[in-house]
Amino acid sequence: MSPYLRSLLLAFVLWGTASVSWAHAFLDHAEPAVGSQVHDPPAQVKIWFTERLEPALSKIQVFDSSGKQVDKRDVQADKTDAALLSVSLPALQRGKYKVVWRVVSVDTHVTTGNFAFEVTR
């Protein structure tokens, strides 16, 4: 591979994986983790996204197995990390919970998703 081609390829990779960016927001990781079982009930659901968010247009909801919304409806963005969104939870009972999110990244792209976690205590 020629040096020119190698440089071009490297530039593309760096560009495409750059952390400061404008693109669709995907879930990067969450607490509790996606699809996880946790022993102790979490006090919050926190989701780290791949992009900075518009907090006023973004939300997280948590539902129990009967479909009742159980979160405290106080979604907030982290003050130091614009890609982190969280919502508080009451003391959860043992059972399965579904997290539903809809976020708008700073370039106005909308993405949605959902995942489950289970409290085993």
């Binding site: 693109a23 983790a33 489950a116």
Partner: protein, 309 residues
């Protein structure tokens, strides 16, 4: 001359981009490749059902064509798709081909120009489903005769679909990252007899079975994958063609196992091209593509359709 024109065209595009970027204000939009929580990548060998702002540049295919004089073919092509309204888009593409037959000189030249349009008439977020109708056309005689392009045009009306399996029950969680996209259409040549050779109508069909690690990691179960593996989608594509009349050959096509890595602004895909029978070929080829998400790359311009929101 060609390079000079290309340079002028590129300057004009860059100038337009700068002007529109300065004047544009962002507004909320849904974008290409999504049906609810499902992100569908652009497939390489079969068409996907989405109306989108995308640029494939380049797509590279190398394969050995069968025949009395087996021919090595390298094809470099580009394709751009633009979203005119939220549900209607157009695309245009062309390629440059290098052909080397056994005992013959190298032949090079442009493929015929291809244009198309697509209308997506259903997007169901809950069931990760999308359906669309479209018409593609290859414009005969616009390519280079030395590489044997068709002198007649071909019109292909078609139906396109995409379905993610995220709505499967929790007990089948390992299958939820699967998705299927595909197309069915009939190609109608504008000439049915060319140089004494009968040209059949063809059933153009194909599908792509995908398994998305993006979906697995973000919607189903965090199995601890980190970059770059958490952005991979493995897939197998099956582009097929079945002649419907005029003494056509049996079905031809390939099976293309491969992988796509999807980043913030572009995706890179590579597939093996395995002929399904001797009418298609005897050797394994390769297909690779660099594909840009224009709506992410330049959201001020391509973040919304040309007309409507």
């Amino acid at each position: 001359m060609y390079l000079k024109n290309l340079s002028a065209f590129r300057s004009a595009v860059l100038f337009s981009v700068c002007i529109i970027t300065i004047g544009a204000e962002p507004m909320p939009v849904f974008s290409h490749g999504f049906a609810g929580a499902r992100f569908f990548p652009a497939t390489l060998a079969t068409d996907d059902p989405f109306v989108a702002n995308e640029l494939s540049l380049p797509t590279f295919q190398a394969i050995r064509q069968p025949g009395d004089q087996p021919t090595k073919t390298f094809d470099l092509s580009a394709d751009v798709a633009l979203k005119l309204t939220p549900n209607f888009g157009i695309e245009i593409g062309d390629g440059y081909q290098f052909q080397k037959a056994v005992g013959s000189n190298l032949h090079t030249g442009f493929d015929n120009l291809k244009v198309g349009s697509k209308y997506q008439f259903l997007v169901n977020a809950e069931h990760e489903t999308i359906l669309s109708l479209g018409v593609d056309a290859e414009i005969g005689g616009t390519g280079t005769q030395a590489i044997g392009v068709d002198r007649f045009s071909t019109i292909v009306p078609g139906f396109f679909f995409g379905k993610g399996f995220g709505d499967l029950p929790d007990s089948l969680w390992i299958l939820r990252p699967f998705a299927l996209t595909g197309q069915v259409g009939v190609s109608f040549p504008t000439g049915s007899n060319v140089g004494g050779e009968r040209v059949p109508d063809n059933l153009e069909w194909g599908f792509a079975l995908e398994y998305s690690l993006i979906y697995l990691q973000g919607q189903v179960k965090d199995i601890g994958l980190r970059a770059p593996f958490d952005r991979l989608i493995s897939l197998v594509e099956f582009p097929m063609e079945t002649p419907l009349n005029r003494d056509g050959t049996p079905t031809t096509g390939t099976i293309n196992p491969g992988v796509i890595w999807s980043g913030k602004y572009f995706q890179i895909g590579v597939e093996a091209v395995i002929p399904i029978n001797r009418h298609t070929g005897n050797n394994v080829g390769v297909l690779a593509q660099l594909h840009f998400y224009l709506d992410d790359l330049i959201p001020q311009i391509f973040g919304k359709p040309l007309f409507g929101r």
